[in-house]
Amino acid sequence: MNSPKHNAPATGCDLQRVQDFLNSDHYHLEDADFITHLDACPSCRGYLEAQAGEPERWEQASKLLQTQEFDQASSAEYSVATSCGVDASQPVAVKDVLDLLVPSEYSNHLGRLGTYEVTGVIGVGGMGVVLKAIDPSLDRVVAVKVLSPKLAHNENARKRFAREAKAAAAVLHPNVIPIHSVSSGSTLPYLVMSYIRGGSLQKRLDREGALPLVEVLRIGSQIAAGLSAAHEQGLIHRDIKPENILLEEGVERVTITDFGLARSVDDNTITRMGSISGTPQYMSPEQARGEQLDQQSDLFSLGSLLYALCTGRPPFRDDTTYGVMRKIIDDSPKSIHEINPAIPEWFAKIVGKLMARDKADRFKSAGEVHKLLEACLSHIQQPNGYQLPNIPNIPNSRPQPVQSNTTGIPKMIKFAAGMITMAVFALVLLPLIRNPWSASTVPSYDHLVPPEDLQYDIPVITVALAERLIGEKENVTFANVTSLEPEVAAVLSKHPGNLNLPAITQLAPEVARALVSKKEGLWLGLNGLKEISPDLARELAAAKCALQLHGVETVTPEVAEILSTHEGSLALGLKSISPEVAEKLAMHDAWLNLNSLATIDVESATQLAKRKHWLTLDGLKSLTPEIAEALGRYDGDKLDLNGLESLELDVAKSLANAKCAAGIYLNGLKQVSPDVIQVLANGNSHLSFQGLEFIDVSSEQAIDNAEKNLQTMGKMMLRRKSNQPLLMLDSHHIEGSDSKGETLSHLWKLRGQSVGSITVRALHIKDGSSQVVSEGAFPVEGKQNQSIEVQLQLKSLDESLPSNGKFFVPSLSVAVNGIATNAHEGEKFTILGEFTTHSTTEKGQLNYENTIMSAASAAELTSYPKTIESMIVASRKGVDFFVVILTWQPINEANRNVGIAAGDLNRS
């Protein structure tokens, strides 16, 4: 390369000018003068180059920018790969192909390919170029698909291309394009197909928008017929979309083309997991997830195509490929009928069944779809001659649009002012399994789980055993070893896996020194240690691995200071913390786990918030506004507050000030209100709410909006896994009147996702005890939008009692997916004197600060956690509670043990 040679600045030249020129990004008018000066002044040229970079920098540029062996296109051309969208090099592909054609004898032809005379270009795609050509031997027009030269030397692409030819040639059907010949050995592999005059279905869609039903049926039944033929050959098209459907001019024939991605069901050697192709808008959910495909996937794409024909637009749309794929996986399309009321409900039902998220819920075969659509077509054309065929039911009907949320804030219902307050405490939510999904893994990645632990029960470790462990990568636990010799410790130190010594309660500094001397990168568990002396702390702090000291419940500021010099992660079992200790631990420069802290004072929180690294405080169950304000000053890596079970608005506001590079984790929250979500999403951090299990509809919308908002700011929100059960409260109605003793009714309408079964239990809590009024378990079928309605009534009986008393009978009824059960009645009870009732549910959130105050003192009640126990305590003060407890289980663990059919409500 041509290196700069001069470094010395010239006298008399304006050196600042050189600097200014280099530091500006764009040309300015006065630059012209400077360049004219450069033309004439070698010393300024030299100075300019020296200022631009030292000689090594010039050489580095020269060396690194040379094309190297095995550079792929993206590297070799300095071209930034666009993450999605159209390949900008497409016109180049056409030119590349045309350049390789043999010149033709005919001046109006573009060239010759084999024996084919190329007369034009039909289209361009990712795989190559489709040319229009004349086959001279038969004097017919053909379409020649040529693999792009760039891909022709790519073995994968060649294989794929050859496969396309083989697959498509095997299918002989009027609705599948015929392949005449294939040439895959030549430098420019190509295949020859029939030329179909006309255009693609996409073109027609662009031109005309939504098509009439009769056309949709005609086209749909033909595609289904073609697919059926291909499926019978064991092929999957994998890319059914309007662009790949050709409409022959003048003939009512539809042809499926481009089996480019078709493949035999058992041919998974080339297209492995991950390298899946296909236009995203018509992809099936399983395709978007990169899972194994089968014929059912084509049916989903056919459904999406029919949807597009009915509405004029694809069912899932987004600006990015990624966005489309996420929607396919997560969302349901808008109802067809809403976009195009001309499409009858029964047809929308067919499309819905084709597009069923669960493969098993789709039609059984393309052949079945073909017959059904044909029969529908006959009915449309001759309604009197042919009856509309039976449309098979969809087990999972497509989700309904979200029903508008009712006000949700029930007014206080006063029967009268008086002595007894009867509160209906609604929907305490206690899922049966705390986090049933935490252990779930994607099946094909089972081999990625951490290594098994090796557990030894022996009381002593010999040097020989320790030496053997040097070769073991497994985590090793010595459950019964209570002491170590320095020699053994030195050898153990070389074990490359995690080492756990929980039974060691005391450790001499010299043994600790030996133990950590060689340990690097992995963790060392010494969770039996209760106390750490400064000397021991010094040895441990020198460790190059993470330290787990969960048994250490207190440390002095001196020890904290020493431990904070430890360069790796640190877990301490502190039960309490002082500001002095917190101040020292704030200096620690890696992950600090203080999960045993159940409370913290403001000053200590303020100190800990000064940390730059990850801080875990999962032991905190709640935050006061002051603590939250202190933690809000944290701007380190990641803040774990996964123990929080509820989050009030003012606390959220303070937390939102924290700037966490990796986010604030609030996975313990089961419920969250819309304003809390909104406040947090306007903050400075990624957010994680993976534990949400119960929300109301407005929260769901708030979460969606917050997630979008975060994304525009480049932040993420971690949400529940798609198979995790979730219950949403649509509405809560109360009926009753202010006159004495009328029947009072609470009705909750809920929607479930991935909920397999529910248990509903009604409790009556009074005079310091709780009794079950009624209880029942109900299976909930289906995955999406299961409807669950729970009604609790307190019926007043007409029998009147002396001295202002009243009889009531509690009654519980449940309806799952529209199937109602008989109400179960509890034992009647009496209320003497005057009383009021209060609802303690507000938008699905428990809220009894505002409602029970009149009976028991506010301070007493709010100091209780919101649990059954607190209500039992409160009931001694003269408050009766009625509680409906709903528990649920995930769908694929649907409770078989309960076995109580819908309709039973068992009295326990």
């Binding site: 390369m1 040229r45 540029a61 390298s275 990168g521 890596d637 993976q690 971690l718």
Partner: protein, 197 residues
Amino acid sequence: MTEFPDTQSLLLANIQSLENREAWTEFVQIYRPVIYRMARRRGMQDADAQDLSQDVLVRIAKAIDRWEPQAGVRFRHWLRKVASNAIVTAVTKSKPLGILDRSAADQILADTPEASAAKSELHDDCFRERYLRAAAIVKVDVSPITWAAFEQTVVQGNSCEEAAKTLGKSLGTIYAARSRILKRLQAEVQRLEGDAQ
């Protein structure tokens, strides 16, 4: 016609709980060609090398998905360390690829000469890839003539006088152009490196 596979989006779609999509996108852009080259240099065929880079990326993506790291490192650091271990293991075949769990960043690779050579190769190659990315960014920012002045004299090794002649520009223009680009290039590399730190 069919679009060519957009595995980038596919990887993203597969990762639901990804901490930092932006970091990941950038990561894949840098690492995919690097893994590919490392595999090819070790004698793998094109298709196998592509499969391998895909495979490694999917594995890394999956490791991210369950990120609850044991070490107090930043996400990008952690990602690079996981990647480094996975890639070096994959290309040197020192142990079957597999364990990319929460403590992946903590795993120590067998310290064979082969592995450490691969590690430094990986490091150098990633730097080059970032350099190429920087060049790509600068290239679209400047006029084609300005870029050509730089490319011809610095990359292709022509003299500035020659370049001035071929491009029909004055000598001062060529000097100005290539100096400015080198300066920009370094700033851009630094920015990308900074992002990666």
